[in-house]
Symmetry: D3
Amino acid sequence: MPLIQVKLIEGVFTEMQKREMIHRLTEAMVAVEGDNMRAVTWVVVEEVRSGHWGIGGEWLTTAAVKALAAGTPAG
Amino acid sequence: MPLIQVKLIEGVFTEMQKREMIHRLTEAMVAVEGDNMRAVTWVVVEEVRSGHWGIGGEWLTTAAVKALAAGTPAG
Amino acid sequence: MPLIQVKLIEGVFTEMQKREMIHRLTEAMVAVEGDNMRAVTWVVVEEVRSGHWGIGGEWLTTAAVKALAAGTPAG
Amino acid sequence: MPLIQVKLIEGVFTEMQKREMIHRLTEAMVAVEGDNMRAVTWVVVEEVRSGHWGIGGEWLTTAAVKALAAGTPAG
Amino acid sequence: MPLIQVKLIEGVFTEMQKREMIHRLTEAMVAVEGDNMRAVTWVVVEEVRSGHWGIGGEWLTTAAVKALAAGTPAG
Amino acid sequence: MPLIQVKLIEGVFTEMQKREMIHRLTEAMVAVEGDNMRAVTWVVVEEVRSGHWGIGGEWLTTAAVKALAAGTPAG
């Protein structure tokens, strides 16, 4: 039953990282719900195009998110 | 008013099949709500990339879904 | 895999009708995808409060939808 | 907190128009909620493929939406 | 075609404010897409229960959002 | 940026468990994305009414999910 829908900006994470997300989010949910619920725990990951995500009206690009993740200023 | 949002894994269904889905899901809804609601019945189909869908923490690929649909083991 | 998320306005359909929707939408999807996919076909129905749905900026109430379904003018 | 998720059909709007949408939708929300909420106002824009959107069971293509926007018949 | 789905925390906004949101978000979208698209511009507003929204792992309550909107510290 | 939207059936989990979910899902995401992304990691939890969730066309009730979680047959 638990359905987890994740939205990211494209190009920020590698395929490996997205698979790790699916694994870790599932384990996080199973830790609360119990292992009997594992088979019906779904995680869906979708990616939004660079610039198609606004925070406070500012367009968030792939480059900006990478800079944020790295702890360096985007400008 | 009824809004039906469908998520699939990419590459499993042909364009023809997806159009048939939109048609059949609309008819299924109209069968319950009545024909007067047809014009405001929306169906949106979105596709998620292969491997971006987890069931029980396992990554579901286009190939795995096709094998499941065909009734053959994925491995 | 197929995930079908339905949004309705509350108070328009009975519990029986909503269960019939889940049944019919599942059958519609299975008719396209094949019966092997049935067990992984999910349908989630959510209801939005009366007036919380806008079409062209007009607030759609439960009463307005019922009038539309009945084919009678809302006013 | 306010989360605004927008779905469009691909190829109808330019990148410039989508950025303008994010800007205008944020301003519309801030006009109601107050400027203190701006930083936690998110807008996510996603695009659905041409023909993957049904209205009343009819497949809406990019060309049909453009014709509608221009006020010319699609046929 | 444009579909705008809004999520809020319950109890923060009055019914009047939510109706104003639907109106203003529709006008914002129409300003970009043109008036011919108005009739197929949908806005759906959903509310999430207090505490069911996490930002950085912190639970956002109705009271906390109201304090943020008012520009006063939540603690 | 990462947005995590969770759907559950109502009445299965306590408020404490839902808060633990928000905490654990956030930590799972931060473990992949890095701590600089924590402040822009959102988790939204929504609950669907008992019987409004279909798996393979069967209506999933709160009681059925609790039985599944407990590892006891629902019937």
